[in-house]
Symmetry: C2
Subunit: 471 residues, 2 copies
């Protein structure tokens, strides 16, 4: 048994350790920053993808899949975009022994792959809005330290791309995106902040960017989503126009919404404890694990009864695993605690005789006996309670680690999210970043009541900015 790391003592080591021990990812792949999705981690990711697909279906986005490779000339059309991504792209220059005429790059995001084609797809106002999405891998040559799920060079990525007749319709899309984000975050039991990023930290080419941030136990925030209003910024260079009701050609207004495998990173970091992962029931590969406690003489009966349990739980619509490995029950508990399975059922001779099942919650460790006939109700209720508990704990931790700082000195001392008065000027913003060694995450999209001074220049202001160290 490997020694357990304490999450509270060294979050970073704990995170790396648990990622490995829970078998979420294998980091030994010989190309740096590119990890292998092992079966358990991949199942979590696919479960998240499925929730996203359900939400996309509900909101009538259509799934597409664009090519990975983008030609240099298409990529270069929007000046800000290439400035933002150009240094981090992987270039394909040869096929076999032959030099390519035009270099190709691996998509770091798909604007420049999609928009030349959107220019062909969009024709009339009647076809708008165009709402599409894809779930693909994107590539960014990150130079900062890599970390499983949080900073990697091949990124499992969701991106929605929409086209609208005008700014207001695009704004409606952003409201819908925020609603989707909320549904998803609830299923992942994650609190989050919607912050309008400062001008100097927008997505390359965007008119504005909403960063969706969650607070990790280290006190750093992790961006888990990005929602962008492009206005006509891409429509112009890519000539995406439609014919309006008067027969005039107009540029579309565009939005995008991106999320990635960082969602898995957030779930690991926010919910886990010293024993291992704690997975939100909606994305757990197994929601229930069954451990037989074999007693001499009636082993077969116990296994048989466990199979009955397994079928009953499966037929009720839950994801369940019956662990029949030939190792001690204690080792099984240990394994499934590391892997964060929300509920464990134990069935031994005593349970069998009394027609009960021993029932253990991963989040609280609480153990109780449940009457056999009440099992399914109990599972249903407990999974809901676990989800609620995870969200509440995370919310209260975020609250506890959010501070209003009156001065720069106060801000510097804080670990977590720091709110400050800010005049709104870029000059002050970037200097505050330098002095505090934190990042200006932005301003809340729903205006907060505030009146005070900019912590740097002292100017009276009603703007609150959020600061944090970030991943």
């Amino acid at each position: 048994m490997a020694k357990s790391m304490k999450k509270s003592e060294n979050f970073s080591e704990w995170y790396n350790d648990i990622t490995e021990r829970a078998n979420l990812s294998d980091k030994r792949y010989p190309v740096k920053g590119m990890n292998i999705w092992t079966p358990y981690g991949w199942k979590i990711m696919l479960n998240i993808d499925n929730i996203i697909r359900e939400e996309m279906d509900r909101t009538k986005h259509e799934e597409v899949c664009f090519p990975l490779l983008i030609s240099e000339d298409q990529f270069a059309k929007e000046a800000e975009h290439i400035k933002g991504f150009g240094d981090d792209v992987y270039w394909v220059t040869h096929t076999g022994k032959n030099l390519l005429d035009v270099r190709l790059l691996l998509r770091p995001t798909s604007e420049t792959a999609m928009y030349p084609i959107f220019a062909l797809w969009v024709r009339s106002h009647a076809e708008l809005p165009l709402k599409t999405f894809q779930i693909v891998n994107v590539f960014r040559y990150e130079t900062k330290q890599t970390r499983a799920f949080m900073r990697v060079r091949e990124i499992h990525f969701f991106e929605a791309h929409t086209c609208h007749t005008d700014f207001d319709d695009a704004e409606k899309q952003i409201a819908e995106d925020l609603d989707i984000m909320d549904t998803l975050a609830k299923k992942l039991c994650l609190p989050y902040l919607n912050l309008r990023r400062p001008e100097w930290d927008k997505f390359a080419g965007a008119y504005y960017t909403i960063g969706v941030d969650t607070l990790m136990p280290s006190g750093r925030t992790l961006q888990i989503g990005g929602i962008h209003q492009y206005k006509e910024n891409f429509a112009k260079p890519y000539e995406i126009t439609y014919e309006d009701e008067q027969g005039e050609h107009q540029y579309v207004h565009q939005t995008t919404y991106g999320m990635s495998e960082r969602l898995v990173g957030a779930v690991i970091g926010v919910h886990g404890d010293d024993l291992g992962l704690i997975l939100p029931p909606d994305i757990a590969p197994y929601q229930v694990v069954i451990v037989p406690i074999l007693a001499k003489g009636i082993q077969e009966r116990i296994i048989e009864e466990c199979r009955n349990l397994e079928n009953e739980v499966k037929n009720a619509g839950f994801r369940v695993f019956l662990d029949t490995r030939e190792i001690r029950p204690g080792s099984k508990y240990f394994d499934w605690e590391i892997r964060g399975v929300p509920l464990r059922l134990e069935l031994g001779q005593r349970d069998l005789e009394r027609n009960v099942v021993t029932f253990v919650r991963r989040d609280t460790g609480k153990k109780e006996e449940i009457e056999r006939s009440k099992l399914i109700t109990q599972i249903t209720d407990s999974l809901r309670l676990i989800a609620e508990n995870l969200l509440e704990k995370a919310l209260s931790s975020q609250k506890k680690n959010t501070f209003l700082a009156k001065t720069l000195d106060d801000a510097k001392d804080a670990v977590g999210i720091v709110k400050i008065g800010w005049c709104g000027e870029e000059g002050c913003g970037t200097e505050i970043e330098e002095i505090t060694d934190m990042t200006v995450l932005g301003t809340p999209i729903e205006k907060e009541d505030f009146s005070g001074q900019c912590v740097l220049c002292g100017k009276t202001t009603d703007i609150v900015a959020y600061l944090a160290k970030t991943y």
Copy 2:
């Protein structure tokens, strides 16, 4: 309305035309050989992927996802493999403005990405067999003419990779793969041949290869699957060993099983007709389409009743679409015929009055009235009958286009699959290919009763070889 192409007159043009008009793929992407999966085509592909995932789950394969990029040194370890794929790979040489120390290539298939890691994963006989698969995109710089789904440069790809203690256990895996192939092919209503490829046409690095071929209406065959016995060919260079029961280190025996988006190409080509696609019910994005026939005065009642129908059909577990577009019913029929929806329901005033639904099968065009109360039974039965009919038609067409040729001249004149006597020598095989301008697909894995002469050298033989022109 674009003019319809006749499938029987020019299969190739019909195929390209229908792929576009059914909105399966957009070929206007500016990088050659890389097409865009549009929503309808992508849904078909995802439905096929889901069937594959179910089969993988049933047979206890675990899904993984390995990185796209492979370093040159890992790729080069198996000599035959690099000979087979080296000329067709895309090379990444730079990130941003910087030259990479070690060149990276985009996987053309994942042996060389996975096997260095399998060497770490596999330790003891107790952990074998290792059964994994992934569904990813692979890249091959095809120099032949590209064609949607059938020959592209970015390929949507399924690949199962397994490790076994010995040859016999690996052979059992191949039997299981053949069983999976059979289940899948039945759901796609595709007849196929399992042919052991001749030595000179094996997968690069394999001990032997079974090609799974289906006959297209053009008379050419399309390979839709490949099942490979590697023996220890990769285990040796990648040092994948396990400790046997005696504590000795042994090389694993490996197999792979690959399929791709060609399955979509086969479905289009084999089943479609002059009106458009005909989709097998198991993979149709919509199995049923409902078209309201609006009559003056009771439009709302008809729409309402159509919504009831939609709900009823959906609740019975079918994929259904209610087409409320403001265009003539005839245009809707036309559209959904192109897109190959297996069943169309029409509901108008007469139907409403008589408590019936008009019911049209895409495969036969047969139109009948169905009592409202019998609708779900009728849908269930009809979808089964459609699948059976598609498979039967395809089987009979394959039979009709398979010939036994006694001489090379006979072989040369045939269009379709040609069976010949073959001595089994490579020299004769390749010369037969040259003379007939056909490919030796191989020999059936279940030996056929035959006694005759090699069509080239005249030697007495009991080997039947299959020849065809191929895609």
